[in-house]
Symmetry: C3
Subunit: 354 residues, 3 copies
Amino acid sequence: VIVAPVSFSLAELAARVGGAVHGDGAARIGRVAPLETAGPGDIAFFSNKKYRDAYLACRATAVVVEAGAPEVPGVARLEAANAYLAFARISTLFHPPPRAVAGVSPQAAVHPSAAVDPSAELGAFVSVGPGVRVGARTILHPGVCLGEGARVGSDCILYSNVVVRDGCAVGDRVILQPGCVVGADGFGFAFDARGEVAGAPQHYKVPQVGAAVIEDDVELGANTCVDRGALGDTVIGRGTKIDNLVQIGHNVRVGPLSIVVAHTAVAGSTKIGTGVVLAGQVGIAGHVEIGDGARIGAQSGILGDVPAGATVSGTPAQPHHDWLRSQAALHKLPELVREVRRLREEIAQLKGKP
Amino acid sequence: VIVAPVSFSLAELAARVGGAVHGDGAARIGRVAPLETAGPGDIAFFSNKKYRDAYLACRATAVVVEAGAPEVPGVARLEAANAYLAFARISTLFHPPPRAVAGVSPQAAVHPSAAVDPSAELGAFVSVGPGVRVGARTILHPGVCLGEGARVGSDCILYSNVVVRDGCAVGDRVILQPGCVVGADGFGFAFDARGEVAGAPQHYKVPQVGAAVIEDDVELGANTCVDRGALGDTVIGRGTKIDNLVQIGHNVRVGPLSIVVAHTAVAGSTKIGTGVVLAGQVGIAGHVEIGDGARIGAQSGILGDVPAGATVSGTPAQPHHDWLRSQAALHKLPELVREVRRLREEIAQLKGKP
Amino acid sequence: VIVAPVSFSLAELAARVGGAVHGDGAARIGRVAPLETAGPGDIAFFSNKKYRDAYLACRATAVVVEAGAPEVPGVARLEAANAYLAFARISTLFHPPPRAVAGVSPQAAVHPSAAVDPSAELGAFVSVGPGVRVGARTILHPGVCLGEGARVGSDCILYSNVVVRDGCAVGDRVILQPGCVVGADGFGFAFDARGEVAGAPQHYKVPQVGAAVIEDDVELGANTCVDRGALGDTVIGRGTKIDNLVQIGHNVRVGPLSIVVAHTAVAGSTKIGTGVVLAGQVGIAGHVEIGDGARIGAQSGILGDVPAGATVSGTPAQPHHDWLRSQAALHKLPELVREVRRLREEIAQLKGKP
């Protein structure tokens, strides 16, 4: 943890994030820290009830809380309507985002036809192909590869070994975690069972001639893949945040402002609306539509459209609450089988009655 | 989308792909485009009934269709027995695969003992280890790493940051999407519970001394991993196509001509036959056999052998149609539980009758 | 397969690994090989009963076996209590781990403030940031990127294109397979629905200011991701082995000595104890605890705590044996639905009786 040599009074912090102080507003805060290890000079965060004991035992100078959190003797509270947001903003004051150190490493490879803003930072072994554009204050960490004609906007951070393939576009303020791949070929093959083309059966490659477009304020996780379109583009809409190891197929549209958790896979041409949440390890079939604000439970397999605002789980998907009951009932299914057998025997006996 | 400055008459296209023109065969076609955005001079593709409205409203000069597609006024049809294949071939005419620009970047690192064909193209920051062989017209994009003794055939494309580890082999006409890893160590450890080796318990690493072999005409997706064998090799058979983020364990054999969709994992020593389809997020246990032509539904967990030609889903796998019914019935399980309770009460009443 | 030019007598091998020879102890062994292809001079391994026929037909000079394995004419047996461990140790004699060739490639980029042990090996296009420390005899393959302040211990192997981000720590004798990412930002956003910060709704990025810590003797698979902590650290405990394409969220603790199979995802702040086994494609929710020695079946979705020593499967998890019965019963559910309908009709008839 790199600690910035800055400090704020608790009252200053509250003023900056719009919260109310209960306790000593003049107390100096120099660090954000977890509840369990926070000490004097630290500010921590409490919301999840699982950590109530840690909160009650905490030794931080102050804690950011929601309204109604109990008082802890000796610990000031900074109450905010959206306490998590307030804490995140405070953490950002102590840990501001990295800023580009303008310049191109002598060990980078920049094609002469590329247009790299002079304020951008390009590390060693960064490869920038012909016709590429890189915007102001963007940081390309060592090992980033930008294919021919790729465009990356301003104020982006591309971590090491990110690949943006030819012709793809990345907006402004985008963060791509290490190893993320933008614009690999979509998975499209036409089966030539009769060997029309080559005299023997093959999966004939369908050219993937669209691009992948990453709009402003998107973040993509480590080793996540967003394939280019087959025809037309794959689009990750503004402000959408995608976790690690996610697969987005060709011609998918996600967002804006959606959340996609790790190991989720979205098959080709599916449209995912605004503010949708896909929990981890979800699979979504191709050519379906997920309405605005829908929430899909972890490990669900979605085979058809999901209406706006729905909260669904399972395979095929059902309302999340029903799914919980189905799963619970499933645990009792062997007993139910035995019960039905007993009922059958009792009925047989009853029928045998005179 | 990069548009090649070529055009063909519709009749020429039909002749090249073996289709029949309904409409003006002399019409000039300069581009492939999606149904929704195609205009004059474009050729589009229609097959999936979901897009029938888009087809009927389309403004393309021509559309590739299967027999029986309705007529759209002002739009020519190119009818082909395998319409998707015909469209893919037409798309390839407008978007031919990239061709190697012979030469080695001055910023590549090629070991003197490596044998790189002079017609191959090696980008910046490509690392080629001792004894490596690279075939004719193969393209190694920036950041590709080939370990000691690796072999890559002719006419391959290895995109940025692909890794082929020591001793592994890649055939001809293979495409490896960015970040794909060939030949990482298989996951093999012998648990030394009594600390025989080091005096304390450990998972002792089993040397992974086999290779990973990628046969001709295979494509591997972005960030997909094919582990090397423990003893003997892992083999991806000729013409098999594997999507992104797939895990292939040590000593697995897949293909030829199989299809593996994203996020699927195949555990060690499993044999997957010819023309098998593994849909997305499938898990297959180790040491099992999947027969030729089998099809495994998305998210299935396969614990045992699957016979040739079977179409199965679920965990444990069952015939796909039965699985669909089981899942549908599962949704009604809570109601079934209540129904059985009611029957039990009615039987109790009946038994109470004189 | 690279075969080392060494040979041992069978008796020597048995002495080194603590086994007993049945057969000719003076026989020379020059190679480890699979049962199916082993010949004269080779030693193979037999344990899994699935391969009994191959064992009985094998032509190896010797086979490492557990007590009670049948005799095969002409084939010596090396019997060991932990036969798999014995075989692994023998394989290591023929295939010793790679040793660093001291030196830094002239095509590497090492910041002047970094401290790289002179015995370490740094390949081409290795990027070592400011303040980084690299220990004795550690091998950094081409394309490895170590961010500012990262530390890597002694006797490690980091394969090509591994990324260890700023401030993260890797212990001694750690192996990181290609493309593995240590210390990407955790997935943490505070939803600002009212646009407090920017005047429009956004997912506000929560700074991820902790590190990822990889303890001694850990192995991480290809393209696996271990995120840095939000506050405090993410820790992979000593001797834990993680397969390919695994996702470990922020502030998770795993191990020591645990096993995590491919495609598993662990959400934030979850604690996984000592000697736990997570089979493939498992999903574990955030903020839960998995007790020491627990075993979680493949594809399970774990939503709550799992007690030490438990063996569970499914979603929500249940004892593995119960889960197997539930899944089997699920296959019969459509028939059960029909059966209940028949019983209902019979009861209706009975009630209609006078």
